[in-house]
Amino acid sequence: MNMQSDSITEQAKEDAPKGISSFLKHWVFTTNHKDIGTLYLCLSFMMFFVGGAMALVLRAELFIPGLQLVSPNFYNVLVTMHGLIMLLTVIMPVAVGLANWQIPMMIGAPDMALPRLNNMSFWILVFAILLLGSTIFMDGGGPNFGWTMYVPLSTSFGPPSTDFLIFSVHMLGISSILGSINIIATIINMRAPGMTWMKLPMFVWTWLVTAFLLLTIMPVLAGAVTMMLADRNFGTSFFNSAGGGDPLLFQHLFWFFGHPEVYVLILPAFGVISQVIPTFSRKKLFGYNRMVVATLSIAFLSLTVWAHHMFTSGLPLAAEIYFMYATMLIAIPTGIKIFNWLATMYRGSITFETPMLFAVGFIVMFTFGGFTGIMMSIAPSDFQYQDSYFIVGHFHYVLVPGAVFAYMAGIYYWLPKWCGRMYSETLGQWHFWLMVIATNLTFFPMHFLGLAGMPRRIPDYALQFTNFNMIVTVGAFIFGFSQLIFLYNVVRTIKRGSRTTAQVWDGAEGLEWTLSSPPPHHSFQTPPDIK
């Protein structure tokens, strides 16, 4: 790894592909953390449009009562695919993409610790996605039982493509596990001298915790789907009550994965917000130590609350009480995070560039999602909210204005660093405000629908739900099309954005801002000085 090879690769990147084969070779075989980060981000953004298009078909069907556009079976297939795609192939990869780009630069390392593993975990993901997508075109249609894959709907009653879904989930799991190992190895081994644990940027901390969380839960999901595979094909009865198995066992296993999974999606988002808020408040992050402790306790608690997804499934009273209390406790570390962000802004010197707008939007709307979360932790009330549109509203509030807004903030924040060019602030602000309006138009009325009694995952509904569903559909389409502004803005930035300095943002602190924009191919060739 010397300067010469560096400039050669830089050269190759600068003047577009000489031939298609060298272009492909470059991107397929790359082991560079920035290239792989870019690949992750592009893949994630592509899947964002795929999963989003599916959501728009669902919303178009729900615009008025009656069956219009799609058959109920295809509706269920889209419900399943939308969930799997958005969670596993949009939000997780965008977080991994940010990690790939940022972690080496933030800890003063030249690259990730395991570059080849890095390449492998990306390409496994690509094939997993292809396999997942192919199920839609198989005989009998794609998986049609929701991303939660509840048995026996997914075993005895599942279409043949379910087996391919299971293999796809295995591959996604392997990809995540390899990625996590790499991130853990990088953070533990590659920190520059002087980058002690309690100096790590919050984004790095949250990713470290997330990676350990992934290592804990992914094997459980893999085990659960393998048992499904055996039940479907090899005559076992893990989950088949007629053979002495237990359908509820699957739910326990699934949610032991599924609940921490939502923290896998949101913890790196917390990390991004903890970088953006101090920059645009021009003030240090308030209560760093407690933020670290809060991250750790959220991760730990997230492993102990899974059955709150199953309050109506007939848990014993004692279990219901335990899971209710444990779930309520999560509000405390999450509250600490929000209060600390507010305290960071308090008496700062705030400006509202696009990343900051997204970060403030995140705080406002994620907090709202937190409130409905507290309401649902109350087990008796949850009997009414469970499986209604209220929960759909809740988890979209924590995932869209939560995770998506935070990652948007991260991309706007670091994009000028990555390509050395500034995005269009005007377009960024348009994107933000359209997203704020569309998000609330789409997801806020869902709470009303749920409280009024509309169940989730239905292609047709009673007449009393019509008005709100119309509003939701309109919001969803605005949301979808507003992403085109973002796409244009990113492409425009890369092609002809105005040049930026190394510092980019005057309030930004951290090692990545000491590197040139765009940063050199191998971020830090010599360890930086850490104050």
Binding site: G314, L342, M345, D387, F448, A462
Partner: protein
Amino acid sequence: MKSRKSNLSYLQQSLTGIGMSMPISAMAEWGINLPKGVTPVSRDIYDLHMLTMAICAGIGLIVYSFLIFILFRYRRSRGAKPADFDNNSTLENIWTVTPFLILVAMAIPSTLVLIDMEDESNADITIKITGSQWQWHYAYLDKDIEFYSRLSTPTEQIHGKAKKGEWYLLEVDKPLVLPVNQKVRFLVTSDDVIHSWWVPELGVKRDAIPGYIHESWAKILEPGIYRGQCAELCGIDHAFMPIVVKAVTEQEFTQWLAQQNKPRLTEQTDDWKMDTEMRAGREHYMRYCAACHQEDGSGNPPLFPALTNSSVVVGKPISRHIDLVLQGVPGSAMPAFAGQLSNAEIAAIITYERNAWDHDTGDLITPEQVQMRRLKTSDTRATQP
């Protein structure tokens, strides 16, 4: 129980007084809030819901006002200079401990309601509810009454060929009839996949899980009709398995029970003609079969086989066709219809399938033929409903 109830509503009232929930409860008529419901449990849940919502609204008011204040007061454009502090243990302790205390305050009433919800003892009557794709089966355990309850909205309304009625998708052929002021215990289970029996106004939602019988209860305080839907994704027709509960006075309930025990009229089978049977057959086919096998019989292979030109449907012997409908295919999505359809209904469906879609076999199946196949099978469920 009474004193706790009043405590709860007192708490709620005092909080809603300052909270934002006043306008929300006023808007309840427009169907944007949880219904108060007609059972003690649903009312307790409603109170809890309003209480937590009021607390959240209160906290939200404080947090959001503070945020807005910060965003206006500390802008650089107003000349704000950044202060130099990055921690304050006292403050952080306050916002660790205060939420904890608020949570404890919410946990106490929640636990009490939860304990009450899970106490199914001393029930007056017991109803066994069995979910199956896509209908509910109700059995009055000590009364020897049982029946299926299915969506009664015509398919034309669903496909936009007819005007949708007032209770579109929320109406059934036979509602569950329950007496008011009696503690009704529900035993909930399933024949196939997981369903969930949810009637918001009763405050009951219980997953119906094959292999499990889970309990729940309701004591309905006001006569009326209460509607709900299956809440757990259960396949293609998940949106089309509503629940209707008709709560009547104890006197009316006794009368209703007496009616149910009357012997059924014997089936009219003398004038069994092709055209009438085809018409009835199509109606039943659309209701019971078309969700999987499709209106045109094309199915969705390989999970739901096509009926058009299938060897069972057009081939002989016809008894193979009848047996398959009566007994279903174990381990597949094809249920046994012996327990839920009458001989006449099955005969009509089979006649329809053998003559529709250009099959034109000319086979006319009579209820007697179906009855004969029933008798030949040893399946205990094969007795006619």
